[in-house]
């Protein structure tokens, strides 16, 4: 069941326009030129989805389920980006767009609730592709959903700007030609975090892990243990729990009895909130220092500053990075103005991925997904100017090469506003963090 909160309807008039556009498009010299360069004239929803005065993007994001807090934040990011693009705002121009819309076309969109379930997301995006001729699909919280949507995108030949997804598999063994990910992979996040916590917390620690039982959880566990190995950190215990667990008491009892010095909590979203609360109640947080490799958007707000004080972790983006990047400042300010809170990284990914797609379309000068993919893949030589400074996609695995912020939780008394939960310890440059391409296991699919 998809709950559409906003849909661009594809009416009879659009159909006529599309038909006219299609007929006219076939005679355009530009298209012939494109096919001359090896671009297929017709692929996925192109050119049907791009022949009218507007294009449609399909967004799936969990508005219900354990990851709904992050999903709702992401939705607001997408909406802000689309509003900026359609208005041809100064922000959109700074990111590199030419004017109103994308190549002059208005962006329409539909948002469906993916309920934190891959099958629901795939079903909704399939509808967006078939009914609305979505020219781009995006949105996920949970790598399970992200990977399922990448497969759909590859099959349907519709570009997928991956939403929230931290698993290495997203740009590793499950990478797809039609999928691009902006969030740091678990490998990048842990490689950034490892040296910071190694230095801050000392060598030769025994570590207890709480791992959600799917692609993301295992990915973070593998990457984190590898990143802290140089510091002599060992695994005291790993407790694997299903996504959506509500009572972690038995796992926490094992952790409490493991003799560990540190507790690495990989659980995410509502699961992270519940497990952190319960870990505190079991006295685990008194005995062990907490580390959260990838902190959920609202975790600090939901468990309260005292529990997150001194906790190390990483984000895709933290809003105080506005001090460092001018475009981040613009993004944070306009988001706060519209939504009355500081954007979290879910919103940042929604905003960034939408704008990167729009800019890439204009660089390709076509909505043809093959041309856009080639523009994205060529971004190393022509990096994007973004809220994270200059970034580019690695052509071999479609991972965004971008800095990773390492943060530490602030004391409640040190907070300057209700959203001021973290200090950014270090913003680690992205390129040295990348997993060597041979290790990723990524085998790209075909363009056509």
């Amino acid at each position: 069941m998809d709950r559409l909160t906003h849909t661009g309807t594809f009416g009879r008039r659009d159909l006529l326009l599309a038909g006219a556009g299609l007929a006219g498009g076939l005679m355009l010299p530009g298209l012939r030129a494109a096919s001359a360069q090896g671009m297929p004239a017709k692929i996925g929803t192109f050119p049907d989805g791009a022949s009218g005065s507007s294009v449609f993007i399909g967004i799936t994001t969990p508005l219900t389920g354990p990851y709904s807090a992050d999903g709702t934040d992401a939705k607001l990011g997408y909406e802000l980006a689309i509003a900026d693009i359609n208005a041809g705002s100064p922000m959109a121009k700074k990111w590199g767009l030419s004017g109103k819309g994308v190549m002059g076309k208005e962006v329409k969109y539909g948002i469906a609730d993916s309920e934190t379930k891959p099958n629901v997301a795939v079903q909704a995006q399939t509808q967006f592709i078939q009914r609305n001729k979505a020219i781009m699909i995006t949105g996920s919280v949970s790598s399970a959903t992200a990977i399922a949507l990448e497969e759909l995108a590859q099959r349907e030949k519709v570009l997928n700007m991956v939403g929230l997804s931290g698993s290495n598999d997203t740009t590793g063994k499950n990478c797809q030609r039609y999928g691009f990910r902006s969030q740091p992979s678990a490998y990048m996040a842990c490689k950034a975090l490892g040296p910071v916590v190694g230095k801050a917390l000392g060598a030769n620690k025994k570590v207890a892990y709480l791992t959600p039982d799917y692609s993301y959880g295992h990915s973070v566990f593998d990457s984190f243990t590898a990143a802290v190995k140089p510091f002599g950190w060992t695994v005291a215990t790993q407790q694997v729990v299903p996504l959506g667990t509500t009572d972690f008491s038995s796992a926490l009892l094992n952790i409490a009895n493991s003799g560990a010095d540190l507790f690495v909590n990989i659980a995410f979203g509502a699961d992270a909130v519940a497990s952190t609360k319960q870990a505190d109640q079991f006295g685990v947080l008194k005995k062990m220092k907490l580390i959260v490799p990838n902190i959920s958007s609202f975790q600090a707000k939901e468990v309260g500053a005292p529990l997150m004080q001194g906790v190390y972790g990483t984000f895709d983006f933290w809003w105080t990075m506005e001090d460092q990047y001018p475009l981040a400042k613009d993004f944070v300010e306009s988001f706060v103005k519209k939504n009355n809170y500081h954007p979290r990284w879910g919103a940042h990914i929604g905003y960034m991925q939408t704008l990167l797609w729009a800019v890439s379309v204009e660089r390709a000068n076509s909505f043809n997904p093959v041309a856009v993919i080639k523009a994205l893949e060529a971004s190393k030589s022509n990096p994007y100017e973004t809220s994270l400074g200059k970034v580019w996609y690695r052509a071999e695995d479609h991972q965004l090469v971008r800095p990773v912020p390492v943060v530490v939780g602030k004391a409640a008394s040190a907070m300057k506003n209700p959203d001021d939960f973290f200090d950014v310890v270090e913003v680690v440059p992205g390129e040295p963090l990348l997993q060597p391409i041979g290790e990723t296991g990524c085998k790209m699919g075909s363009y056509t």
């Binding site: 354990p66 709904s68 009892l253 009895n257 519940a274 609360k277």
Partner: protein, 291 residues
């Protein structure tokens, strides 16, 4: 092989987990057993209970007052749902009952989401439940220890009402033959209303007591609904003692399994349910042909 102290700790944790599961399931089984209605809004009512505590705490700051106010609130909710909707469905086929209660559940969840948003809300552990208690072989959260006692008390009260009072007698007679009980001049409808409200209060109370432990958000009820189903299938559909014993068994299975490997604890629970359905389809305390 895990050490003996760890196994003992997990066995104890299974008991604590089991009492919670028993309380969560009891509301579901009371309504199913007496009214024959499988209440799919059960998870949502559990969630509403947690929010009732969250809101009351904002104003009173006392967990006990919050429990009391929340309990009364759930009673009102239960009466309202029964009078307005469920009452009309007693004579309808089970699929209609499932659909209407499922719908009530969706409305409740979305109403809460509209009011409070999707983020988790913070419900602190009451001051009398803070900290941990040293039990010799293990350290255990004080609040969870107290919950075992509180829940045992609530379950005891429910048992007395259902099995040792004239109301309970009428309820059980009403199930056998509502028409005959009516002819005897007893108001069956009022009794049914009472039972439904009681089941709703039990669901709400479980949510209230669990609120400081779990993540309080609009979707929190879903997984508890599923777990309650498993528990009452194990214990026997509609059997109150079955829900209690089923809850304890489920708690022990989850806990003991995780002493070996936590990844398998849920799998083992479902495996047992499947096995039981093959060997004893009516569940441990269920009666064949009833419900």
């Amino acid at each position: 092989m895990p050490s003996l102290p760890l196994l003992l700790s997990q066995a104890f944790n299974g008991l604590a987990l089991g009492t919670l599961l028993a309380l969560v399931s009891s509301g579901l089984t009371i309504i199913l057993g007496t009214l024959g209605v499988l209440n799919f809004a059960h998870g949502a009512l559990f969630m509403v209970g947690a929010y009732a505590v969250y809101v009351t705490l904002q104003y009173t700051g006392s967990f006990l007052v919050a429990l009391l106010v929340g309990g009364v609130f759930m009673l009102v909710v239960g009466v309202a749902i029964e009078r307005v909707l469920v009452r009309l469905f007693y004579r309808r086929p089970p699929e209609d009952q499932i659909l209407v209660t499922f719908g009530v559940g969706i409305v409740l969840v979305e109403a809460i989401r509209a009011i409070f948003g999707g983020n988790s809300q913070r419900v602190p552990v009451p001051s009398w439940g803070e900290g941990v208690t040293q039990l010799g072989f293990l350290i255990y959260p004080t609040f969870r220890l107290e919950l075992i006692g509180i829940i045992a008390l609530i379950l005891g009260l429910l048992w007395v009402v259902l099995y040792r009072t004239s109301i309970g007698l009428v309820v059980r007679a009403g199930i056998e033959d509502a028409g005959m009980v009516g002819i005897l001049g007893i108001n069956v409808r009022r009794t049914f209303l009472l039972v439904f409200a009681l089941g709703v209060v039990a669901a709400g109370l479980a949510g209230m007591l669990y609120a400081p432990i779990v993540s309080v958000n609009p979707d929190m009820g879903g997984s508890f609904l599923v777990e309650s189903f498993v528990v009452i299938v194990i214990g026997g559909l509609g059997s109150f003692p079955g829900a209690v014993v089923g809850g304890l068994i489920a708690g022990e299975i989850i806990s003991i399994t995780s002493a070996f490997n936590s990844a398998y604890s849920e799998v083992m629970l479902y495996a047992l349910m499947a096995l039981l359905l093959v060997v004893r389809p009516q569940g441990l305390f269920g009666t064949e042909g009833r419900v």
